[in-house]
Every structure is written in structure tokens, then in C-alpha cells.
């Protein structure tokens, strides 16, 4: 009600410190302030332990080392992944190249067979005779001679074993050769 009769937007007095009141028999009385109890649950550490627990200041070199290690790990992981990807791609390429090779080999065989089928001996012979005016080798192209008994050659075999001197001479020749 009091608020309605006021022109302020906010009743700031509500946030002001007020004494506690207790309603007793329809009358409001101020509540006596309670004795503030101090809870003693704080453990004080020895000074050495405090020093020990004190957070150490990060050394710059250590920071670099950590960063380097992390970087190295990232690089390793990255390169493993990259290699796997590369490996996959290469495998795919190899498989594709092998397929192409096999196909080209088949095409080669197919073309070779087609070429061969156009070159049977009958066809070659016909072409040579009709187009190139060639003839088979005939007996008339050979000149025959008559050999008498005396015209025959004889291969003379070695007459016998070499003498000792001949052997020495052959040995020396062999060394010099």
C-alpha cells in the first residue's frame, strides 16, 4: 500500500539493514542478535609444505619442449594418416594401371591375332606369286656337279703322339699365347 502511494519505481528501502523482529502475542519485538559462531575448520599447513605446493613458474624452454613434443606427435599422427591416404590412392592407381595393362595386353593379343590371320602361308604365297612375281626356289636354281672318287676330300687324323720336345714346345707356346 505504501508502495502504491509512492512515486519511486523501486523501493530500495527493502534492501536496507533492519533489525530482526519477532512477533510475540500480536506485538512485534526486535529479535536479539545471535551470537556469531566462528567455525574453526581451517588447517594451516607448515611453511615447507606451502612452499612445496606452490605452483612453479613455467620455464620458457620447457614450454617450447612441450610445444615441440605436441607438434611432433601431431606431425606423426598426421603423417601416418597422410601416408595411409597416399597408400590408398597409390593402391587404387596401381590397380587401375594393372587393369589398363591387362586390357592393353589383351588388345595387343587381339590385334596380333587379327594380323596373323591375314598372313597365312597360303596368303603370303599367293601375294608373293601374284603381286611380287616371285617363284619358289627350284632345282633349276641349283648347279649340280659330278664328283668322281678322286675328287673326294679326306680329313687326315693325327699320325701319333707328340714327342717330348714337341710337348715342351707346345707348352711354351701355350704360355706365350
Amino acid at each position: 500500500m505504501a508502495l502504491r502511494n509512492r512515486t519511486e519505481a523501486y523501493d530500495l528501502s527493502l534492501f536496507e539493514t533492519r533489525p530482526l523482529t519477532v512477533e510475540v502475542g500480536g506485538q512485534t519485538k526486535a529479535k536479539p542478535a545471535q551470537k556469531q559462531q566462528h567455525r574453526n575448520n581451517i588447517i594451516e599447513l607448515p611453511k615447507e609444505q606451502t612452499e612445496k605446493n606452490r605452483r612453479r613458474a613455467l620455464h620458457p624452454m620447457r614450454a617450447v619442449a612441450v610445444a615441440f613434443t605436441l607438434g611432433l606427435m601431431l606431425t606423426i599422427v598426421g603423417s601416418v594418416v597422410f601416408n595411409q591416404v597416399q597408400l590408398n590412392e597409390l593402391t587404387t592407381q596401381i590397380a587401375s594401371a594393372e587393369r589398363q595393362l591387362a586390357e592393353q595386353q589383351s588388345v595387343h593379343t587381339q590385334l596380333q591375332m587379327e594380323a596373323n590371320s591375314a598372313m597365312t602361308l597360303s596368303d603370303v604365297e599367293k601375294f608373293a606369286q601374284d603381286q611380287l612375281d616371285m617363284h619358289k626356289v627350284g632345282k633349276n636354281q641349283v648347279t649340280y656337279i659330278t664328283l668322281t672318287e678322286g675328287d673326294q676330300g679326306t680329313v687326315v687324323q693325327s699320325a701319333g703322339e707328340e714327342s717330348l720336345l714337341d710337348k715342351i714346345w707346345s707348352f711354351l707356346q701355350g704360355l706365350l699365347a
Binding site: 595411409q84 590408398n88 591375332m113 627350284g138 633349276n140 641349283v142
Partner: protein, 741 residues
Amino acid sequence: MAKETTIRMWRRALILILMMAAGLCLVVFNLIRLQLVDGEELKKAAIDQSLQPTALTAERGTIYDCSGTKILAQSASVWTVALEPAYIEEEDKKVLARGLAEILDMEEADVLALAQKKTYFTYVKKKVETAVKDEILEFLEENNISRGVQLIEDYKRYYPYGNFMGPVLGFTGADNQGLSGLEYQYDTELSGTAGRLVTAKNAVGTDMPFQYEQRVEAEDGYDLVLTIDEGIQHFLEEALEEGIENFEVANGACAVAMNVKTGAILGLATKGDYDPNDPWTITDADVIKEIEALPEDEQDAATSAALQKQWRNKAVSDTYYPGSVFKMCTGSMAMEEGIVSEETTFTCNHSYVVEGTGGQHINCWAYGHGTETFVEGLCNSCNPFFVHLGESLGPNLFYKYFEAFGFTQKTGIDLPGEANTIYYTADQLNPMELATESFGQNFSITPIHMLAAACSIANGGYLVQPHVVDHMVDEDGNIVMTADTSYKRQVISSDTSERMIKILQTNATIGTAKNGYIAGYRVCGKTGTSQKILEDQLDTSKKHYIASYCGFAPADDPEVALLVYYDEPNPNINYYGSAVAGPTFVKCMEQILPYLGIERKYTEEELEKIDTTAPSVTGEKVEDAKKTVEDAGLTVKVKGDGDTVLEQIPAFGEAVPQEGTIVLYTDEESQKETVTVPDLTGMSLSAANQTAVDSGIQIRVTGAALTSNNPVSQTQDIAEGTEVRPGTVVTVAFIEVDQVA
């Protein structure tokens, strides 16, 4: 109040515990079941699901001729075109049908019918080549057709030379398996072993090669290197075709050339044959007409029978009575046993009464040869003489040698379908059977049997193992198998062999086999004519004969044996082995021997008869040319009024008969002159010569003309009616027509 609540809680807890226990039991039970009971099966199923194996196809081996470089059969991957009609858009079907029909050389309506089928998959054309496949892909891309056409990788066997050597090579089936010939015989070796690639697959079926991969490489089939020489095979096939045409041979023919020392088949030609690229098509037009004339329900059986007949290799699958060719074996037996020598005489009175038959007799083909020596008896192919030799040997000795020559077993040649021989054992050889077998009748063998026996007579008496494959090579080029060329056994002594060679050479020079004579080549030979008794009984409209010629050369060191066999030549033309098979034998041997580097060695007598060579006189003054030609022992004919020789016929280096003519053309007008080649066949030597002279040409003679007393021209190398220049030399082959057996 609190007490009641606690009991309820306990009850609930108990139920919960029981349920949990039951659940745990169920889990444990399932664990045991899955791990111990069904463990192996499930493990396998899991592997099957995640590790999908892919078969690695082994490439079928290649077949080469004896050079190891000439490819006779080879495989390559090709494509099969299939449609998935259910996935083809309705509006694409016509476009697709038109395009595929054009590319695949098919009827558009047929392809459209396939595309409109209510099915998920249908074949359009099998085994199309890569170029065609590329065309299809291009067409599909151009027309934005992404679904409905499947190109499936397949294999095709190529035989680049078509019919060439067809029955020997055989062919393969739809699954690349050998079905005939060498393809069948060596199917295991040619096929190789398929490999396997096992890789892990992810959920969508993509390979995970680094998770798990196990590759067992395919082992390609071995390559076969044959003993057959492409050149020799060509000579045989060409000559056989000519013989079939000349003598209207009804039932095919074969010619087999064999290395007498190793048994290696150098050439094996069989006609009628087929193209292994298209073995299911009947090649004989007459047979097709006969089948078409049959009622429809009989056509399938007739087609099947015709194909089986077409695929037969006559050289190994057909048996025949060898006829008088076998006399070389009977003679060898008798000579080996000392029953007969070259000078042993016998008197042939045309009819010979066989001992122990109650007067049954066997007639000679001639009206009695009178008293003749063994050499003359063989040269006359005298049946009574050989019946007499058979009687002298007796059934036991005869059978002993018959068996030793290999006639009682298959030769074991590495070709499929070798026929069993039909013969009488020693116990079954009663006098008449012995008598008829003595001159090559009444028992059946294959041409390969006869040729192997002839080789044993030629090579010192050793029975060789006929074979077609020389060696096998693996994919790395290592030789994995080599043919065994060791002899089976020695049938006759080398002395008997040498003596029989001389007798057979005499036979081929002046005897009944003189149609196989080749000047300078010391040929040995024996002819054979056998009657097909069964066919005669089934078809009485004509007589059925087999004409054959078997021989080898050169006599001083035999290298090659050749058997030529014609099945049912037209008896109205000729059916004697000498006349029908002899010229083919000559034609083949004349090409084979120089091809193998075997040179002619003429006797003085032969040297006098051989052709000479035209000297070079073109460009010379006419008078000088005349002198040059006359000095060469030839005559001159000058055409035109010029004073310089512009051209000569025959040209320099060409063959001219002894005392032949050289025509000299001296102006352009004379060079335009031509004459027509007359028919020079069916004439005596003098008549043919006179006809040639009258027509302004000249002839050179081959065959029996040089040794026969009564030769008749049989073929000419330039056809009748051909326009040629005056002086042209036509080669005319002569035979001795009154030779039989």
C-alpha cells in the same frame, strides 16, 4: 508400518535378483552356445562376410609350332555384352537397341526384343573385342544411358590361321575348357591354376587392403611347343586339298609326316576339317543341304553326328585296312626270319590256293606275274607272293611281329580319340585270316600305326613313339616337360631294315609305287588300295575304297616318313593308291625335303633328264643371243623384227626342259602376243608335248614321266584357258595309271 515396507522391499529385491540371475544365466548360456557350440561356424560366417575372396583367373597357355615363335592358339580377355531390361528407361530402349545392333552387327528388332524382356538380366552377345566394347561405352556416354548395359570380362581363344591344323589343335568350350584335339588332351597343363585374392571388406563391400589381404597368385597354364612345323603342315594341307578336288574324295583325307628317328609328327593334315574359332558350324555345304532336307525332328541328331564327324582326326580316330602298304611289314618279317631273301623266287599264277582252307584261293590283282624274285614280288605288289610268305611264317611268328610292330595296342600318340585296332590273335589266325592279313586286309589299324611301323623299317628297326608336343614351357620360360623320344623296342634288325629300304626304293623308282618317284631324292614307298567292305554292303550304288601311299626319304639316311590317305575317291576317276595318293606324296615330299635342307643327289641317268636353266640374253643383239641359247643346248624362236632382245620367255634362271625353247621378243608388237594354255591332262608324254608345241608353249614333266613306260599326264600347274606368252613353260605331272595295290 516400517516392518511391512521392509518385507515388501525384500520380496521385490528377491524377484529382481532372480530376474537378474535368470538374465545372467541366459547370457552365460548364449555365450557358451556362441563360443563353444556354434563358435567355429559363426567364426567362418564372420570371415566369409568380412573377407571376400576374389578368384584370379589363370591365363590359358599358348600353343606354338616347332619354332616356338609361331602362335597357333592364344587366349585374350574379351567382353560379353548383357542387358538389364528392368533398369533401362522405357524411352531409352529403342535408342539402345538401334545403337547396340549397329555396333554388334545384329538385327535391331532382336536387340529391342531383348531390351523389352521382363527380366533383370539377359545376354546380347558374347566374346566381343575391346574395340567393340569401347564403341559401346562411347555410345552409352553420348546418349546419357547410365544403367541397363553390362560389359562383363570374359576370355576368348584365338586360332589365327582358321582351319589350319584345326583337328590337331582342337577347340575350347564356353568355360575355356578344352573340348577337342590338343586343347582337350593337354587341358590340365594348358589351364593352369586359378589364384585367389582375399581382402577385408567394409560394411558397404569396399576393399580394405591394409586391414587384411592375402594373395595367392594364379599360375598360368603351360605353353605347348609342338613338333609340327608350320611350313610342312602347309605343304600337306595344300596338297591334300588339291587331291580331294582332283579325285572328288567323298569322305575326307589325311596326310601325316613323321621324323623316322624320333617319332615327332612334323605335319598332320586332316580334311574335311573345321575352323576352331567356329567349331559348331558345319563346314561341308553338301552336309548342310542333306541335313536341311531331313524332317525337322531328325535334324538335331544329324547335325550332332555331322559335327562329331567333322571334329574327328582321321589320322588317329579312323581305322582302315592298310592294304598293300602293309606288305613292307610282311616282307620285313619274312626277311628277318630268313624265310626270304632278295633273290628268293615265287611263281604267281594269278590264283593262289590257301593251304588248309579246303581249296579256297586268293587272286592276284594282275593276271599272274609269273616267276619273280622277292624284290620283283614287292615291286609288283603281288598278293600270292605275300600270302605265301604269311603261310611260311605261320600264325605265331606272324603275330609276334604284328605285335612287335605295335599293331595290337594304341600308339599312345598325345592326341585324343585314338582308335583301338581290330585284329586276329595268333590263336584266331586261321589259314584264311593269316593269308588275307599277309597282304594288309582283314585287320584295321589307324594311319598313325602304319606310319610308325614304316618308320621302324626306315630307322634300323626301332619302333618310335609318335608325338605331337615337343616340350612344355611355364610362364617363366622354364621347360617343364620334354617329349620322350626313346624307342619302344627293336622290331627288326638293322640289316633287314637296310635291305628293305633298298627294295622299297626300287619299288618307288620302277615298281608299283613309281608315282611317288622324285628325281634326286632316293624315295622309298609302297602303295595301298583297300576296299571298304562294310560301306559296300550298306551302299551298293558304288564301290568304296581307301587309296594310300606310304614312304620315306632319302633312302641313304631316312629322315621323313609320309603317309597319304584318301577315303573314298571317286572310283570313276581313279581309286588306286598309286594314282590317287602317289602324286600327293610327290607334291608333299618335293617341298618337305628341300625345306628340311635335304639336297637332291641325282644319278647320271637322272641328271641327263633334269631341266636346265634359261640363260640371260635380254638386251643382247639377236645374233649374239641366238648363239648363247644354242650353246646352252636350247633352241631359239625369235618374235618381231627388232635387232635387240627386249624380253625372253622363259626368263633368266627359269626352268627349261632339256632341248627346250627360248622365245626372244625383239619389238613391242611381238611382246603383246599371247597364246592359250590347252588341256594337257590325260595324255601320254608325247601327246602332251605335241599339244604344247602346237599351242606355242612348252612343258616340263614331273612324277612318273621320268621312270614309267606308259605315263599319263594328270595335272598341270597353269590352268587350261589361261592366256600366257608364247614359250611359257607349263609343269605337267604324270602318273602310271595301270599301277594298283
